[in-house]
């Protein structure tokens, strides 16, 4: 298994992103966000828990179970 230090991995990723011209605009990010059509009951249950805990901790989360 090829091992790569995180900093090197992230630097390479960012270089390729710049070269490709990809920009993560809010609109583009929304097209990438999973709509959850194939979520299992277990996944929905976990996402509901995360959402509830995040709300209780008054933190923001993007999860919609």
């Amino acid at each position: 298994m090829k091992e790569t230090p995180l900093a090197e991995f992230l630097a390479g990723r960012e270089a390729r992103r710049k070269q490709s011209g990809v920009i993560f605009t809010p609109e583009y990010v929304e097209t990438l966000r999973n709509k959850g059509l194939g979520r299992t009951p277990e996944k929905r249950a976990l996402l509901a828990v995360i959402e509830a805990r995040a709300a209780a901790a008054k933190t923001k989360t993007k999860v919609k179970a």
């Binding site: 298994m1 090829k2 091992e3 790569t4 230090p5 995180l6 991995f9 992230l10 390479g12 990723r13 960012e14 390729r16 992103r17 490709s20 990809v22 993560f24 583009y28 990010v29 929304e30 097209t31 990438l32 966000r33 999973n34 709509k35 959850g36 059509l37 194939g38 009951p41 277990e42 996944k43 249950a45 976990l46 996402l47 828990v49 995360i50 805990r53 995040a54 209780a56 901790a57 933190t59 923001k60 989360t61 993007k62 999860v63």
Partner: protein, 186 residues
Amino acid sequence: MSDYSAMLLLLGRVFQSLKQHHGIDAVLVGGAAVEFYTGGRYQTGDFDVVFQDFALFGSAMAAHGFAKPSGTGRLLRGWVHPDFPDYGIELVSGASFDGLSDRSRCRLIRIGEDSAVALPPIEDLIADRLGQYCAIADNPDRSCLEQAKLLFLLAETIDKPYLEKRVQDEVGDVSLLLGSGLEGGQ
């Protein structure tokens, strides 16, 4: 350090512990792995993990402060951590991509001396997303196709024969990547 990075560091410690004590790699899969490869900020806060032994995984998670959420019943295969309310971990299966993935192609990302996260081959993630996109013919989740294209576009390298085999395995359609650079190969 952001909560996301701190969570990754902690999860990497769990993975390393499993590797050191049992010689088995846990692998981060799903949307969290896609995001790791692409860098977009669209994660849902859940980290999907494949590991073959539920009990061993649970013990390692508990040793690192994770707990099963209370009152969630048998549906839940997840863990949460008191310091990270925005995140949860789910053990999704015992075999990476139903055993079809070539685990020797996994990438190990070293986060710290005692922390490292294994990622599946990027070809597997592309194939998985294309398969998910094609699985619901009448109302496909277009985000899966967009993620597949982005993974392909930002890949450091692509093993084209392996990608094509895996897309076939997942009943996807590799031609959907046309326009993302597949024509010339990489």
